[in-house]
Symmetry: C2
Subunit: 252 residues, 2 copies
Amino acid sequence: MKIVLLGSGNVATHLGKALSAAGHEIIQVWSRTLDNAKVLAESLKSDFINDLSGVNPNAELYLIAVSDDAIPQVAANLPFNDKILAHTSGTSELDIPGISGVFYPLQTFSKQKRVNFSIIPVAIEANSPAVADMLEHLAKSISSKVIQLNSEQRKALHIAAVFACNFSNHLYAIADTILRANNLEFDLIKPLITETAEKVQVNIPESVQTGPAVRNDKMTMNKHFEFLKNDVLLQEIYEKLSKSIINLSDRA
Amino acid sequence: MKIVLLGSGNVATHLGKALSAAGHEIIQVWSRTLDNAKVLAESLKSDFINDLSGVNPNAELYLIAVSDDAIPQVAANLPFNDKILAHTSGTSELDIPGISGVFYPLQTFSKQKRVNFSIIPVAIEANSPAVADMLEHLAKSISSKVIQLNSEQRKALHIAAVFACNFSNHLYAIADTILRANNLEFDLIKPLITETAEKVQVNIPESVQTGPAVRNDKMTMNKHFEFLKNDVLLQEIYEKLSKSIINLSDRA
């Protein structure tokens, strides 16, 4: 398929590489910043541009991988209105002028790390069966896990991913901060992080919950709360998450 | 080494099995509940008892793997006061009457899943060089990662583990709840959970943070906050963690 990629961030980069590797032709990369468009375009052997009015009209699909608030503006400023435009956002609606589909790959992309796209779920949504078919066909060329979701489900999936991935990573960062402040290495808890993620591959998370909160061990929780006394926000995070664990185990 | 194990929970179970597999002799298991003592004792080919006054006085080491608030009571009610007692807690002090050492394995133990003890860090603390040597020797027989920590460092390590492991697992549980409520399977985010945990094996967590908060994408965060409107505690968790991510990236 001939595709124009609009964007040059983490999603555009990983998606562009995966599509290109699957045999699709990225004929052009647009980015607001010409240097960014150039870097990605060179790795994809594409043309590049930073002016929306000059976007190539000969693609079969225009994939918009920019920040959510920029999607309407990019869609509105393309020099045609009869093409298939899809965005890659987890949370933006399908119902944006000019947009006819959504192609949302559920993964955490960092430029530092390659990802295996074949196991990444791709959520598809479209305003017509033809576009749905086209996007599903495209998604299946790079992933073995393609699903059709409505906007509400896609948003739920995105929010679940924010909790399970973005917030977990931040908890690792908090752990790193606490360890460093006490002359301890982050390496110490790496096996624990791996084990915690592995456990839920074969168990329901709630059923393998461990730690002071699920035991309602108030003495330990109080000591930890006291230990964090110089950081009110950390204390609040500790308290809210512990409360949520206790609530969930009470309901079980 | 001849060891009496006091406790029959997750830590006692996994530790007992690892020590036994390493050739140590667990001569007796004590638990408040005789049935629990019996189940573990049978798998370790040990004697078992639920009366502290009957604990076998012929062990070289008494390992106390009970909840933090029960440690002082167990230590005080043994029928001798000239033996080496060590507890396995991350947060309890070394300075408890009768206790001369700490043997803290840093891992999340669930009865459902076997663990590879050899990569589990074991933190040692003792009130004499002789006990420190003995516990270190014991730890090295089951783990390749043995460290001497003071009580403050051990508590910091435990708290870091609560954030990185216990709280992460709860975030997985929250994600599971959100997905189910929207007729989606937890399976969808399993690759993401694995990828998130793998990324920090070779990167500093802060450097691979992704998601709306680190981009300060207020539109998306507001939509997510609105989506969670029926659960005030979840909204608070979303808000506090997002704020903490923004703070950390502002400091960088």
